[in-house]
């Protein structure tokens, strides 16, 4: 029992005849109103974990709770508190888009007048009013995604589970879905999304659990995960050097800065300003926040009469975190 919106403790799932556990002792908790991401490659165990939480997969061992309800002991009550937006459309093709929303609410016992009101509101919010009375045939992936999110919200769930919410969507559709999800967060809906897209995880989630081979490898905010990577941030400096100095001096000066793990010269851009005064570019590999080093670097170089003319920050991504943890790329 906890105040978390989602709790998973020592969750294990082994499918019949499978040689290994699909989920192998995962534990985490999601706070109410949090946007939480499960990041991992296909087959990592994300979907199985969400399947258990959404009452569709029976775990081999462990505890899973949604909104304080044990989903194993009380699946029917849990279903009233949660909603699922799958990756592939599972819309009811025999009835109109509006009726998809209305019947969903009816299944969940929403009174008729309230159903109509919510459906109209959500159809409008999701830009679906125009097509509301046609059947969900021949619609784009982005549209079916929107309909499924709107449908999921009809019974006002406490926790919304989204499976790869923007996989396969064009950039505009993706941004639309992201905006709607951010609005939901503002309304206090807890969002749990699975993704193998680190951009999506970084753009939407407050905390990320990185999962591979059914095990939880790391769990933190995307920023903290990225910061935890040793020497992965970079700071690139273009420096104007006086005639009595050489690029070697820039490297030497940069090495003296605290927080710098390594320094390397960058190939000078061809066709410099040609005034005889040299220009040197160096790249610094930094632990922690590279931006904080810009000031100290400028001060240190100025002591030797050198001026910074350009700065480029290179920050590692969740992808790098994943590679660091598993030794391979996400896809």
């Amino acid at each position: 029992m906890s105040d978390s919106a989602v709790t998973v403790r020592e969750l294990v799932k082994r499918y019949p005849k499978a040689p290994v556990n699909a989920v192998d002792g995962i534990s985490f908790a999601v706070a109410p109103g949090e946007v939480f991401g499960l990041l991992g490659p296909n087959g990592a165990g994300k979907t199985t974990t969400v399947g258990v939480l959404t009452t569709r997969v029976r775990p081999t061992a462990g505890v899973a709770e949604v909104d304080g309800l044990d989903v194993l002991r009380n699946p029917v009550a849990a279903r009233r508190r949660l909603a699922v937006v799958p990756q592939r459309s599972n819309l009811d093709r025999s009835i109109s888009i509006r009726r998809n929303l209305l019947f969903h609410a009816a299944y969940h016992g929403v009174p008729a007048a309230e159903r109509d009101r919510r459906a109209t509101e959500l159809l409008e919010q999701f830009g679906l009013l125009e097509r509301a009375d046609s059947k969900p045939d021949f619609i784009s992936g982005g549209q079916s995604q929107r309909i499924m999110i709107a449908r999921a919200l009809m019974h006002e769930p406490a926790v919304l589970f989204l499976d790869e919410p923007s996989t396969g969507l064009d950039p505009a559709a993706r941004l639309f879905v992201w905006d709607r999800l951010r609005e939901l967060k503002e309304r206090g809906v807890t969002l749990v999304l699975t993704t193998h897209d680190m951009h999506e995880a970084a753009a939407l989630t407050e905390r990320v659990a990185i999962i591979d081979h059914g095990k939880l490898l790391a769990i933190d905010t995307p920023q903290a995960l990225i910061r935890s990577l040793p020497g992965k941030a970079t700071l690139e400096l273009a420096t104007q050097i006086p005639p009595d100095r050489s690029p070697e001096d820039v490297l030497a000066a940069a090495r003296t800065l605290t927080g710098v793990d390594a320094v390397e010269p960058v190939q000078a851009q061809p066709g410099g300003d040609g005034n005889g005064a040299g220009e040197a570019r160096v790249r610094l590999y930094v632990s922690g926040d590279a931006a904080l080093l810009v000031g100290p670097a400028a001060t240190r170089l100025a002591q030797d009469g050198m001026t910074i003319t350009d700065v480029a920050l290179g920050s590692p991504s969740l992808e790098d975190v994943f590679i660091h943890l598993t030794g391979r790329a996400l896809r």
Binding site: M1, D3, Y15, T48, G51, T54, T55, R56, V57, R58, E65, D67, G68, L69, D70, R73, N74, P75, V76, A77, R79, R80, L82, A83, V84, P86, R88, S89, N90, L91, D92, R93, S94, I95, R99, F103, H104, A106, Y107, H108, G109, R151
Partner: protein, 266 residues
């Protein structure tokens, strides 16, 4: 929080059950012509060709249509119940995934299966009932006995539920890529070994076939309908038919609901 033991009122589950049933009825209502064509054409033509055409041409004995008609009531109920449930279920589980939204409704998973059976039985019952006016229309008159109506109604209900039960078992067993094979392997034999076109006792001249037909639960529905409408034609005693039908329904429901759980929950 007192979360663990939060009771989900029967009312919530009943509400969800009825809402899902309403959805199915709504779709049927919208596709009424399709529904009618689907359920009526086959028995209509069987009735027309075997009852009317062959009789008029003198290839069947006088009175054949009287024993055919009760058999076709049973056939219509069983086949409609089975088709209504099995075909969509195979697609919903295997392909469209449409069923997921209902599996996530606040009711026990078994109730989703039960709704499927209730709905399929209702459609089957409607289709069988429609065969009565169609029979009058095609044949001019149908064998009718008011004293047999209670048994007829019971038999029509049991035949409908039997069809739904067969559909549930089939629908949860078959994967979409095998749907064609399985349906031709199951459907056609079931259709022709169910004693809808001949009375079972008369098969004693073909003992092996009599054994085969005795294994098809539809036989007992056909025989029960004959007991109700044409008691002069030799038939299996009604209490035997009732018992076998009830037993078959129980077995099919248990197997079907188990299969449903297996498909619904990993």
């Amino acid at each position: 929080m007192t979360a663990y033991a939060e009771p989900v009122h029967m009312q919530t589950q009943t509400g969800a059950f009825l809402a899902v049933l309403r959805r199915d009825l709504y779709v049927t209502g919208k596709e009424l012509p399709v529904f009618l064509a689907q359920v009526i054409l086959q028995p209509f033509f069987l009735l027309f060709v075997f009852g009317k055409v062959l009789g008029s041409l003198g290839y069947t004995q006088h009175g054949y249509s009287d024993l055919l008609f009760p058999g076709l009531l049973s056939l219509t109920a069983v086949i409609t119940g089975m088709q209504t449930l099995a075909f969509p279920l195979v697609l919903e589980f295997g392909w469209t995934k449409e069923i997921e939204d209902r599996l996530l409704a606040p009711m026990r998973t078994g109730l989703v299966a039960a709704e499927k059976m209730v709905f399929a039985s209702l459609r089957a019952l409607i289709a069988a009932t429609l065969m009565i006016p169609i029979g009058i229309l095609v044949l001019g008159s149908i064998p009718w006995r008011w004293s047999g109506v209670p048994l007829l109604i019971v038999m029509m209900i049991l035949a409908s539920v039997l069809g739904a039960g067969l559909g549930l078992v089939l629908g949860t067993l078959v994967t979409p890529n095998r749907i064609n094979v399985v349906f031709s392997l199951v459907f056609t034999p079931l259709l022709f070994t169910g004693c809808s076109q001949y009375p079972w006792p008369s098969l004693d001249r073909l003992p092996w076939f009599q054994v085969v037909t005795a294994c098809n639960p539809m036989t007992y529905a056909s025989e029960g309908m004959r007991a109700a409408l044409v008691p002069d034609v030799p038939h299996i005693r009604p209490w035997i038919s009732l018992t076998v039908l009830a037993g078959s329904i129980v077995v099919l429901s248990v197997v079907g609901v188990r299969g449903f759980y297996r498909r619904a929950i990993d």
